[in-house]
Subunit: 145 residues, 2 copies
DNA sequence: TATAAAACCTACTTAGTTACTGGGGATTGC
DNA sequence: GCAATCCCCAGTAACTAAGTAGGTTTTATA
């Protein structure tokens, strides 16, 4: 029941992009350094975000990535489902294909459904803007202290 | 972000035991047949439940397993944490050991904490008795139809 | 226009996990 | 004493996670 590095790095990448938005593209190398993660690996994670149109890349010197939407328009759910696959706690409720024949009168399935709703409730109602806000509030706190 | 068969089978085993409680021990073989899962594999899952004292075994003919508590006294959270390990969505918030040095001002960690709370909210407030009740209500429905 | 900086692409790797199967040994009710 | 049942351990095939490695393509700038 763990979120893998793909999903976690994707969120940190998007947040880093949002926090360092100057209009100019941000390089993977810089994000990787700030986030202390492998840049070669981050590259692969970012490729997924790029293909899905969540970020736009520009190549060559001064190249890098920028967000394509406002931070408030990205939910954690989108980012996680893109990078992790579906976020349902059991496969048999994710889609029709994985449904088992017991589904109709399976009480455990109903329990999993409630868990899924709780998970979705959080990830689909938290946006990149929410995290940015917290980040800003946090660094303000640090200055006060 | 999936619950493995260990956790799922453990819940189904416990629920099956609760539903077939006649005071007499229930055999793994029977549960496995009803639940349509491998009995050799279920054996291993049950060993964990047994070692933790969630069920009591008796050997020899007419042997099997019985619950050690009332169904209302088992939460899904207990069963899942026993069989799956901790249910936190990221390792760095599960325990002190896995904490990274960025933890103090990590906004993503705060997000994961909210997700964890949502998950715990469901799994720690659903008991075996809740599932039994649903199961009974469900089979009653089936008769009406 | 050459150069270097960046993204882009594909293949490989190592370690670990999942979901079992299989074979036997220890207990114990009848 | 026998068979049923739990108990214990070993192995395994397929998959996933989390990278590493090495190149190719595009492009801003000197």
């Amino acid at each position: 029941m763990k979120v893998s590095t793909k999903g976690r790095y994707a969120i940190r990448f998007m947040l880093d992009l949002a926090m360092h938005d100057t209009g100019l593209p941000v390089r993977i190398r810089d994000v990787a350094a700030r986030q202390e993660i492998s840049d070669k690996y981050l590259e692969q994670v970012v490729a997924t975000l790029n293909k899905a149109g969540y970020v736009r890349s520009s190549r060559g010197p001064q190249g890098g990535y920028v967000l394509t939407r406002r931070p408030a328009d990205y939910t954690m759910g989108e980012i996680l489902r893109l990078t992790e696959g579906d976020m349902a706690p059991v496969a048999c409720m994710a889609d029709e294909v994985n449904q088992c024949k017991r589904a109709d009168n399976c009480v455990t399935l109903r329990f999993w459904k409630r868990l899924d709703d709780a998970i979705s409730g959080v990830i689909d109602h938290t946006t990149l803007a929410d995290l940015m806000e917290e980040e800003l509030a946090m660094s303000a706190d640090n200055y006060v202290i």
